[in-house]
Amino acid sequence: MSMLHVVNKSPYERDALATCVGYYRDGDTLLLIEDGVYAAVAAGKAAANLKGLKVAALSSDLKARGVGEDKLIEGLQLVDYAGFVDLVATADRVQSWL
């Protein structure tokens, strides 16, 4: 019984990621899309929030924003939209932390 948490806003603009992390449970996955992908930058303060979580990010949103793969946190799963669809199908429910 798992949840896919989708965060689409930058952690430096909104509290969505910070709130989401409080609701994340073992077996869940966190997917970063749109401006949410900035959280996956290893050198950023927000990266600390992602420790111990299963995190994925939409590669097209990272590329669009010029975030190089060498800048990302360890263990990040990069997905395309097909992968996004798979993540939704695999989880039991989806929570969009808008």
Binding site: V6, N8, K9, I33, E34, D35, S60, D80, Y81, A82, F84, V85, D86, V88, A89, R93, V94, S96, L98
Partner: protein
């Protein structure tokens, strides 16, 4: 799997409609069924046919209309949200005494019950917004 997609924001202002479109397209390519795409809040503005966006970028509204035509999608614009924001089909325009309608091809206007029904009938609800 059956998906219902909820789009909470208008075209261009937020990436929500783009993300929803790309997700919908990918789901269809994988052989999933899109039960409904429901446009709420400013998302109703995706359903206008009067926009003339610049030619060198994607046409968010037309992209939805084209996808709907290609896959026989049910694109629903919430009637209450549409009335508030000025998106109307010929029936709504006539009913509310307006001199024009502006709904784009492939979109239909209906009630919030369609979103609830989507939640009931689909395996997954995916919400795109701000």
């Amino acid at each position: 799997m059956k998906f219902t997609i909820q789009v909470n924001e208008g075209p261009y202002q937020h990436q929500a409609s783009d993300s929803a479109y790309q997700f919908t397209k990918a789901a269809l390519d994988k052989g999933h069924e899109i039960f409904r795409v429901f446009f709420y809040h400013d998302g109703v503005n995706n359903g206008t046919r009067l926009a003339t966006p610049p030619q060198d970028d994607r046409n968010v509204m037309k992209r939805w209309s084209d996808l709907a035509a290609e896959h026989n999608l049910d694109l629903v614009v919430c009637v209450a949200a549409a009335q508030r924001r000025g998106i109307a089909d010929p029936d709504e325009a006539r009913r509310n005494g307006k001199d024009a309608d502006n709904i784009a091809p492939g979109f239909r206007i209906s009630g919030l019950g369609q979103l609830i029904e989507g939640g009931i009938q689909s395996d997954r609800l995916v919400v795109f917004g701000d």
